[in-house]
């Protein structure tokens, strides 16, 4: 450490280590997505070469890329139908979630006082009650309601996890709205309800947008309930149809399957990354006393 050249060398080494570590983490995270992408566009004779053949490098295109798998996915499988089903369920669930959890979030943040804290934690804890515990009683409830194989079952059940989560998020956002603004509005003669409509909701638009994104992606990610309630291929959502129905007997259509995984994951991943900071803020703001 006494001699400058050594210190400089140490510094360079540190930089190199930092970049190496950052690179390693990035590669670990991205590798499956790269694998989806390259599989989706490889020709079958390039794809199905046993891994024992060390001369054939699977990491790159050895033959020119092809659109065959993507074409098969869109025109030879019910993928587009699944996409429509997912949009239908997602849209309705988002609507229900907004209508229920925005008022509830505000109520917990401002109106119900001392009880708000406890109820808020209570609502959040229900988010911890997992689908894996509930799918069995739901199987009974759904067959009692006659909703087997119906998208209605998913529309009814999915808000059970979007509402607790989004209520908690909204509570966090509403707490970050300064009280003074609302009080000023009420001093100016508005009622509490009018203040909510004219002052608070416009300020909470980013929060509501976050709720929309998260509720929709939670719906797109869900697998257990869909697997339990839907067995008809035409009624499936994307995250059920792709892993379950893109298989003929024992034969997987890996090209089309990976194309479906990539095309579906990418927009969700981008939306998530764009909103992650807001999400963390909402989550932690909910945890800190306002």
């Amino acid at each position: 450490m006494r001699r400058p050249p050594l210190r400089k060398a140490l510094k360079v080494l540190k930089r190199a280590l930092l970049y190496a570590a950052a690179g390693a983490f990035a590669v670990f995270a991205v590798f499956p997505f790269y694998w989806m992408l390259i599989t989706a566009f490889k020709q079958n004779r390039d794809l199905y070469v046993g891994a024992t053949n060390l001369q054939h490098v699977p990491w790159i295109f050895n033959d020119p890329p092809t659109l065959d798998h993507v074409r098969l996915l869109f025109f030879g499988t019910p993928y587009l139908l699944w996409l429509r089903n997912t949009a239908f369920v997602g849209g309705l669930v988002v609507l229900i979630t907004l209508l229920v959890s925005v008022p509830a979030g505000y109520s917990l943040a401002r109106l119900v006082g001392r009880w708000g804290e406890r109820l808020g934690i209570g609502v959040f804890l229900t988010y911890l009650v997992p689908p894996t515990l509930l799918f069995i009683p739901f199987a009974r409830v759904i067959s009692w309601l006659g909703l087997q194989n119906s998208l209605g079952a998913l529309v009814l059940i999915y808000p059970t996890f979007t509402i607790p989560f989004c209520t908690w998020l909204m509570m966090g956002f509403f707490r970050s709205v300064p009280r003074d603004i609302e009080e000023q509005g009420m001093i100016d003669g508005y009622s509490r309800l009018a203040v909510i409509g004219k002052v608070v909701l416009p300020l909470a638009v980013p929060g509501m947008l976050t709720v929309v994104i998260f509720a929709f992606t939670l719906v797109m990610q869900e697998f257990v309930y869909a697997l339990t309630f839907i067995s008809q291929v035409e009624r499936m959502t994307i995250s059920l149809g792709v892993p379950v129905a893109l298989v003929r007997g024992d034969v997987f259509y890996w090209g089309s399957l990976m194309a479906a995984c990539f095309i579906t994951s990418l927009p969700i991943a981008i939306a998530y990354s764009a909103f992650i900071d807001r999400f963390i803020v909402g989550l932690t703001a909910g945890a800190v006393k306002g």
Binding site: A21, P103, L193, F223, V242
Partner: protein
């Protein structure tokens, strides 16, 4: 017999009417609060609370998926399970997958957060790439891993063979040990981004003066890490890990899509065994009894979470 409105002189009518007009529903905060909260509470009670109780009731019954009949059999389901080797295995696997993966996540996330805390070119890109695994739908990402660990075309095997690491062959889903490794890999891959982001948020909350004070006092990197940063990060790391524990303990998709509980039922966890017995085997009672055993795990996690939250509150 309505008397005149202004009985007493000197009392003007205007203020009371105004006050009365203002005391509408829109101003009664308690009522308004309850009304706004009601739909959410109703949903949670009807569709989480009631099914939750139903799950417990079902575990004491011999209910099947086919009929709506409900017959009480007391503790029989649990007695059967206690002597069931597959069930023992599922409990052990649930704990094992959860603890090993979250231990790895704890180390990886702290390391990744330290890397992302430093300034370097391309930091934003690396950060958003790190988030991808968490954002991708689990079921679809799991299928990518199924393909990565394919018995014939596994790119992992090819690479390991190419660099001379592997001489025989890894049948990832044909060998209990390798299948376990595959499942844990996917769990780690999926949960470490979330933990990283949370730890990173915690790190930026450590006041700069404390870091500088430690630096000025001559503390080296490791001393600062162990003596200053890790203790201050502990609450936030705990929260991240507790979330991870819940995610992995209750996960169904990863195990189901990777191994379906195989080979030879060696990788079943509570959730997949419950599905196998309750839905595929149509024995709802048995399935519910299996799933109920997730409760003690979740209860411990919930209590720990509340405790951490409370301590954080006191600290603030």
């Amino acid at each position: 017999m309505r008397g005149p409105v202004a009985v007493r002189p000197g009392l003007t009518l205007a203020p009371p009417t105004v006050r009365f007009a203002r005391r509408t529903l829109a101003d009664r905060e308690g009522v308004l609060g309850t009304l706004m909260l009601l739909p959410a509470l109703a949903y949670v009670i009807l569709l989480v609370g009631v099914p939750f109780v139903l799950a417990i009731l079902l575990s004491f019954s011999s209910a099947t998926a086919g009929s709506l009949e409900f017959s009480w059999v007391g503790l029989r389901n649990f007695q059967v399970l206690l002597g069931d080797v597959q069930f023992h295995r599922a409990v052990w696997n649930t704990l094992r997958f959860m603890l090993i993966s979250q231990l790895l996540v704890m180390v990886l996330a702290t390391a990744a957060a330290h890397v992302l805390d430093a300034a370097f070119v391309g930091k934003r890109v690396v950060r958003s790439l790190l988030l991808l695994p968490w954002a991708a739908p689990v079921a679809l990402a799991s299928m990518a891993w199924v393909w990565i660990f394919d018995s014939t075309f596994s790119v992992v095997n090819w690479t390991a063979k190419k660099i001379g690491l592997l001489h025989g062959w890894w049948y990832w889903f044909g060998d209990p040990g390798l299948a376990t490794a595959a499942i844990i890999t996917v769990h780690v891959w999926r949960t470490f981004p979330f933990a990283t982001v949370v730890v990173l948020a915690g790190m930026s909350a450590i006041p700069q003066e404390i870091r500088e004070a430690a630096l000025i006092d001559g503390a080296g990197f490791w001393r600062r890490l162990w003596g200053v940063q890790l203790p201050m990060l502990l609450p936030v790391v705990t929260v991240a890990v507790l979330f991870g524990l819940v995610f992995t303990a209750t996960d169904f998709s990863v195990v189901w899509l990777l191994t379906r509980g195989g080979p030879y039922n060696s990788t079943h966890v509570l959730s997949t065994l419950a599905f196998q017995r309750g839905i595929l085997g149509a024995s709802l009672g048995q399935g519910a009894a299996v799933a109920i055993f997730l409760l003690p795990i979740l209860l411990v996690v919930a209590v720990l979470m509340l405790r951490v939250a409370r301590r954080a509150e006191v600290g603030v």
